[in-house]
């Protein structure tokens, strides 16, 4: 059942966009931490994207994606009014949320949008949410306003110092943990090296750390094992056992290697796409 795109916002032109999609059946059930699997067109690949927000009343979900390769480039060619051929969800275990005090939600790059839904969940549960977000520069920073609308504190870092702290999100996180002993949990969503760094930062403080893993997926319902990750020496399927896991137990090195499994094919596919779209056949 194709689902219609109601709004499209180019957050970073050519790189990152936000789509609001008409999907009442998913919006009704979506919880923080859930994702969807979508397929843009008949020949397309199934790709997972996090539900960055859901509005059950309006019957919509929001996704934010970074153009990485073929499938996201194809998604980027769609506009408001167009439809996504297949949209399946909500998938994955929802974030474990309970009233626990102060929760720090760390987001990097496109992960900030994915983290937004989790932060909102913690806020609704009555937790004091500190958002710590980072990007390379100010104009690449996502969801600052959305997070500021409900988080009592939004701490920002940029690589070039154009906004907030000049440096990494982990600098801000470490400073906070050194001075604030009320932090009950740290949640991190972003690129693999960032999540690994967050887990390393929090470890000496003994603070519970949850990371959301973006392993390669095919079906997203536990039938293939493409998404398998090692957590505490055990193999888990990110799509049904996760995607959130204890950051102190995840084998990030293995995850990084597994994410590179299809590098040559991804390049081939992207080049093929560019050739086709330039030739005008899309």
């Amino acid at each position: 059942m194709p689902c219609k795109i109601l709004e499209k916002e180019r957050l970073i032109p050519g790189q990152t966009s936000k789509l609001v999609i008409d999907a009442p059946h998913i919006a009704k059930k979506a919880q923080p931490g859930n994702f969807v699997i979508l397929r843009v067109c008949e020949k397309g690949e199934r790709i997972p994207l996090t539900i960055a927000d859901a509005d059950p009343e309006r019957g919509t979900i929001t996704i934010v994606y970074l153009v990485m390769g073929k499938s996201t480039a194809l998604l980027e060619t769609l506009d408001a009014g167009d439809s996504i051929l297949d949209l399946c969800g909500p998938l994955g275990r929802p974030t474990h949320i309970e009233k626990a005090g102060t929760v720090i939600c760390v987001g990097g790059g496109t992960g900030i949008a994915a983290m937004h839904h989790i932060a909102k969940g913690h806020h609704k549960a009555g937790n004091h949410v500190v958002a710590v977000i980072g990007a390379r520069s100010k104009d690449l920073l996502l969801f600052y306003d959305e997070l500021s609308s409900f988080c009592p504190e939004v701490l920002v870092s940029t690589d070039d110092g154009s906004f907030g702290h000049k440096g990494l999100v982990t600098d801000l996180l470490r400073q906070r943990l050194e001075t604030d002993k009320t932090v009950s949990e740290v949640v991190a969503v972003g690129p693999v090296p960032m999540m690994a760094a967050v887990a390393k930062t929090t470890e000496p403080f003994g603070v519970k750390t949850t990371v959301s893993l973006n392993s390669i997926m095919v079906d997203g319902i536990g039938m293939c094992g493409a998404c398998r990750v090692s957590v505490g020496g055990e193999t888990r399927f990110a799509c049904v056992d996760g995607p959130e896991f204890d950051g102190h137990k995840v084998d990030f090195n293995e995850l990084r290697q597994r994410l590179a499994a299809f590098k040559p094919q991804e390049k081939l596919s992207y080049d093929h796409h560019c050739k086709c779209t330039c030739a005008g056949e899309k």
Binding site: K43, D219, I221, G222
Partner: protein
């Protein structure tokens, strides 16, 4: 055609040898994904049908899990009554084109056929396939002419099926032909279960066979809703709240088992389900025209000995592997795959690495698979069941280079719906428990069947279970017998 001498059965009548089925030549077919077996011609089918003895007490029927009136349809075919033959098969089997291709006939009807005593049973599977294919081709717009006699579908009598494998398709076919409105919810983007994501195109053509069967159900007003995940997009309770009167669960057993040996998460090690899903559902054989990629392997090893292992091995060959080995811990005699698949695999050049068991995978500094260590096995003393189980030969291990390993050592129940429906009573092995006669689960008016009840089994057993449940559902909704 085999040059077996003509045989005389007990009755004295001369029985011609079994008619071989034409196939694409092995050297050609390993370069394409088209169907290997080409099917009988009319002449071949008639000749084969005439071999049947029309036994008074047909053993073949008892060998069939859904008791297709085999003798009768073969008799009709021998007389040239194709439509009659088709209707006879359809009276108990809703997917003859599929079953003719994938049933393990040697353990079922053909295994039980009296002529099997001489090793030359009637080629029942090939005849079934012939009847289904020919009938479909003859009467493509309405090959279910039985439809005319079907009562109109009552929109109030609604039944939901979760999952769209052969079990659910059978429920949908049976009930819709009896005036009940069926909606099938499938998590993936295509309908058919293992028939579309698992069994390869070269063995079961998707658009020519599976899609046609599904289309036939659509004409019976069955609705298919794809991308809906039971336990996530909706719950069983939601269905009852929306007015469904009964629910059938046919979600299969697709969760892959791994071996639990070191190195199993290296890139280059795949479950058979992932490998086959990429190729079949994702059409990765047509990459980059289609977007889903599949890992390229030069020296491929496949672990397991069933149909799934055969399918993975033969797929790898077609994708250009230089060598493909099936690593199996017992001997050739114990291989559980269909005989025909094993024969075809060997003809195509698949190598059997028997009495061997993987103990570790090895990789390079980038985490990519480079090799495997195998443990030599031998068959031990028969256990209580009389089966000789493999035991390691102490100290005898050897290494093989491999850059693509496909694990096909079995599956477990699909987890999502079961976790989301804790009221369902499960067996010790984690499958759904049902009443043997009705297929009803521990939740009233919720039925289940197929691999999610039995564990990985066969298409025909899944269909049999679907039929059993469908009969009971019909009885409850419409009364009478």
């Amino acid at each position: 055609m085999t040059a077996t001498a003509e045989r005389k059965p007990a009755g004295g009548r001369k029985i011609a040898p079994r008619v071989d089925m034409p196939c694409q030549p092995a050297g050609e077919r390993i370069r394409n994904f088209e169907e290997v077996a080409l099917g009988y011609t009319q002449q071949m089918a008639t000749e084969e049908a005439r071999r049947c003895l029309q036994c008074k007490n047909p053993k073949c029927v008892k060998g069939c899990p859904v008791e297709v009136p085999i003798r009768d349809f073969i008799g009709q075919l021998a007389k040239g009554d194709l439509e009659g033959a088709y209707r006879t098969i359809k009276s108990t089997n809703s997917l003859p084109g599929v079953c003719g291709r994938v049933c393990p006939q040697e353990n079922q009807c053909e295994g039980a056929c009296v002529l099997n005593a001489k090793g030359q049973p009637v080629a029942i599977g090939r005849l079934e396939r012939y009847v289904a294919d020919t009938y479909m081709a003859l009467d493509a717009c309405d090959h279910l002419s039985a439809k005319l006699t079907c009562p109109a579908v009552d929109p109030e009598l609604r039944v939901a099926c979760i999952g769209s494998g052969p079990a659910s398709l059978t429920v949908a076919g049976y009930l819709s032909a009896r005036g009940i409105k069926v909606t099938v919810f499938e998590a993936l983007h295509e309908v058919g279960g293992v028939l579309v994501y698992g069994i390869p195109e070269f063995r079961l053509p998707k658009s020519a066979i599976v899609e046609k069967e599904v289309q036939a159900l659509r004409t019976q007003e069955v609705d298919f809703v794809t991308n809906w995940v039971g336990g996530r997009t909706f719950s069983v309770d939601d269905l009852f709240a929306e007015g469904y009167r009964a629910v059938f669960i046919g979600v299969g057993a697709g969760l892959p088992r791994f071996l639990g040996v070191p190195g199993e998460n290296l890139t280059g090690v795949f479950s058979a389900n992932e490998y086959l899903t990429r190729v079949n559902l994702g059409r990765a054989y047509a990459f980059p025209d289609y977007d889903t990629p599949v890992y390229q392997g030069r020296n491929v090893t496949v672990y397991g000995g069933g149909n799934v292992a055969m399918d993975a091995a033969r797929t790898a060959l077609r994708l250009g592997a230089e060598s493909v080995r099936i690593v199996y811990r017992r001997t050739r005699d114990e291989l559980p795959a269909r005989h025909e698949e094993l024969e075809h695999a060997e003809e195509e050049g698949v190598i059997l690495e028997l009495l061997a068991n993987p103990v570790a995978f090895h990789g390079d500094e980038m985490g990519r698979l480079t090799g495997v260590t195998l443990q030599r096995m031998q068959l031990g003393e028969p256990d209580a069941s009389g089966r000789r189980s493999p035991v390691p030969v102490e100290g005898d291990t050897y290494d093989l280079p491999t850059d693509l390993a496909v694990i096909a050592v079995g599956t477990r129940p699909n987890p999502i719906l079961l976790e989301a429906t804790p009221q369902l009573t499960l067996s010790r092995r984690g499958y759904i428990e049902v009443d043997e006669e009705t297929g009803e689960t521990s939740i009233p008016n919720v039925f289940a069947g197929g691999d999610i009840v039995t564990g990985a089994a066969t298409v025909i057993l899944a269909m049999g279970a679907g039929r059993r449940a469908a009969k009971e559902i019909r009885r409850r909704l419409k009364g009478g017998e």
